[in-house]
């Protein structure tokens, strides 16, 4: 396996506030990788640095290609789908229009993508005319995932998918992400507060602390690590 995504010494900041102080990490093609860490460690910023929604420096390479200063649209066109914190669904638009926007950068027919998405989320098909804002929180998160999948991405950036969802829905969501990973070879970089859940689904993980990678390893290694267990798993 080769690294699909490589970050080397990546820095990012919001105005004067440094959020990342040189993050280096690699994501293997076909794997699910979790990013853990306390609030303010730079987990969300790491994803935003990849998708180009925050100004960053350092080296980021996707499929061997340096991203340089590419903006979010250009990164999406390369096959990186980002489900941001708060989902980024278009509440005013219908379910179908949300899905259509997911494939905005694709040319030609989107019928195959649509059918593929409906195999994962059959209920979306019946609700395609419904306004996305009238869906429940869990349904909106599913829609956000479906919309990201419409891009047929090689890499999915998933930010706090469990935020505000009932445990039963979170489990369902991670099951679908795992299925996408297994059936479609989708590579996933997921930021998650629920470390236990994330490490169960992931193959590998990174722990961020104060804008740097503090610890890296396979999920088995991380689950066995004493400091991770104390800080994030709570046993």
């Amino acid at each position: 396996m080769t690294a699909l995504l490589e970050l080397e010494d990546v820095e990012a900041r919001y105005g004067p506030v440094h959020a990342l102080h040189g993050v280096s990490l690699g994501v293997e093609e076909g794997s699910i990788v979790a990013v853990l860490g306390p609030n303010g460690a730079g987990k969300t910023t790491t994803l935003r640095a990849v998708s180009g929604t925050v100004r960053r420096s350092g080296r980021i390479a996707f499929a061997g290609r340096p991203l340089g200063r590419l903006g979010p649209g250009a990164v999406a066109r390369l096959g990186v789908a980002h489900v941001p914190e708060g989902r980024g669904t278009f509440a005013e638009l219908t379910v179908w229009e949300n899905l259509r926007l997911g494939a905005y950068t694709r040319r030609g027919s989107i019928q195959p993508e649509l059918e593929r998405v409906f195999t994962y989320f059959p209920w979306l098909s019946e609700r395609r005319r419904q306004e996305a804002g009238t869906l429940s929180g869990g349904e909106q998160q599913m829609l956000a995932l479906a919309r990201a999948f419409m891009l047929r991405p090689r890499l999915l950036l998933l930010d706090e998918p469990s935020l505000g969802l009932a445990p039963v829905l979170v489990a369902e969501l991670f099951r679908i992400v795992q299925q996408m990973n297994e059936d479609d070879g989708l590579t996933v970089l997921v930021v998650e507060q629920n470390a236990q859940l994330a490490l169960q689904a992931a193959h590998a993980g990174f722990v961020l602390e104060a804008g740097r990678v503090a610890l890296a390893g396979t999920s088995e290694e991380l689950q066995a690590d004493d400091s991770v267990r104390r800080s994030y798993l709570g046993y």
Binding site: S51, T53, G71, P72, G73, A76, R77, H82, P84, G88, T89, F90, A91, E92, L93, E97, R100, L101, G102, Y104, T105, W123, Q130, G133, T134, L135, S136, G137, G138, E139, R147, L151, G164, A166, V168, L169, E172
Partner: protein
């Protein structure tokens, strides 16, 4: 999924809140339409006034739609929208002077209007857009004055004459003459509005523009070029304005730099009546105001045509006092 059922109920309830006033508005509109229809069948004078009102209402609708497009995309009222429309009407006048036939000049003007709107957005609005709303509004007010000056400088303030594209003929409707002009105005504006609606509703470009307007950050994330969409939105607004200007000119008989100034007030009243965010509301609002003014002036001798503008202001005032969100505006129903 267990949550699907509960969320469906919650969704229904959320819609129920929004539906109650929407139902009242629908009843009101259907009632108004029935009133007009019965009136037209009863009296030919009423029919003539209604058609004339619809025709000028269509012009207000077109300009109101331009205001709504810009408002939805950039959350500012473009005070220069009317002057922009007036400028493009002068462009059409110039093209006809140079020997183009009316309809060639018409479509050439629409193309020029599109480019003009696009360029103005990129050159003047984009640099101040993210500073503050006030800054953007001030730029549009400045643009109003600038265009006024430029038109006076190039073409002068005297009245210009443009041939009517629909001739001077009239339909005979049971003894009452209805000018071709009014039917033509109604037809042209309707066609343009329908085309713009179809563009927004059925094309990928339209979807991108709507996404960029409602959620710029999320739109950028899926690869929509938000800046480009806002510029195209301004271009389309300028096209709708040009249609309004071109159709307003023959009904006013002469072209002058003040062509659109009162129409802008009616269009603004129409947009507010419709809900400022709602394209359908702008169209309905424009037609409502056009027909009301026409009927009131026709049947209430105390209100002469000099009182048209105060009438528009009265509508504005009443809407803002009674239902600030307008007929088609909706309260935000959103869940997290």
């Amino acid at each position: 999924m267990s949550s699907a059922e509960t969320s469906a109920i919650a969704g229904f309830r959320a819609r129920g809140i929004a539906l109650a006033p929407a139902g009242a508005v629908a009843v009101l509109l259907v009632g108004g339409a029935v009133f007009l229809l019965v009136g037209c069948l009863q009296s030919t004078t009423f029919a003539r006034l209604t058609v004339e009102g619809l025709a000028s209402g269509a012009v207000y609708s077109s300009l109101a739609l331009a205001l709504v497009l810009v408002y939805r995309a950039t959350h500012v009222i473009n005070f220069a929208q009317g002057e922009l429309a007036m400028l493009t009407t002068y462009v059409a006048y110039q093209l006809i002077q140079w020997g183009l036939s009316y309809w060639v000049a018409f479509f050439a003007t629409l193309a020029i209007a599109f480019v003009l709107g696009l360029v103005l957005q990129v050159a003047l609005i984009r640099p101040v857009l993210h500073r503050s709303v006030i800054a953007t509004v001030i730029v549009t007010v400045g643009l109003f004055i600038l265009i006024d000056g430029v038109v006076n400088w190039i073409w002068g303030a005297d009245l210009k004459f443009m041939p009517s594209p629909f001739g001077n003929g009239a339909f005979n409707l049971g003894g009452v003459a209805i000018l071709h002009l009014y039917v033509g105005m109604l037809a042209v504006v309707s066609a343009c509005v329908l085309l713009v609606w179809a563009l927004f509703r059925f094309t990928k470009l339209g979807l991108g523009m709507r996404a960029a307007a409602v959620r710029p950050a999320a739109a950028a994330l899926v690869g929509v070029r938000v800046d480009r969409m806002l510029a195209v939105g301004w271009g389309l607004a300028a096209v709708l304005g040009a249609v309004a200007g071109l159709m307003a000119e023959p009904s006013q008989l002469f072209l002058s730099p003040t062509l659109m100034q009162s129409i802008l007030v009616y269009a603004f009243a129409a947009a507010v009546l419709g809900g400022l965010e709602s394209p359908a509301g702008a169209v309905v609002g424009g037609l409502t105001i056009g027909v009301s003014i026409s009927l009131v002036i026709g049947y209430v001798p105390q209100i002469s045509s000099e009182l048209q503008l105060p009438f528009a202001f009265a509508v504005l005032l009443v809407v803002l006092l009674v239902k600030p969100s307008g007929l088609f505006g909706r309260r935000e129903v959103r869940r997290v």
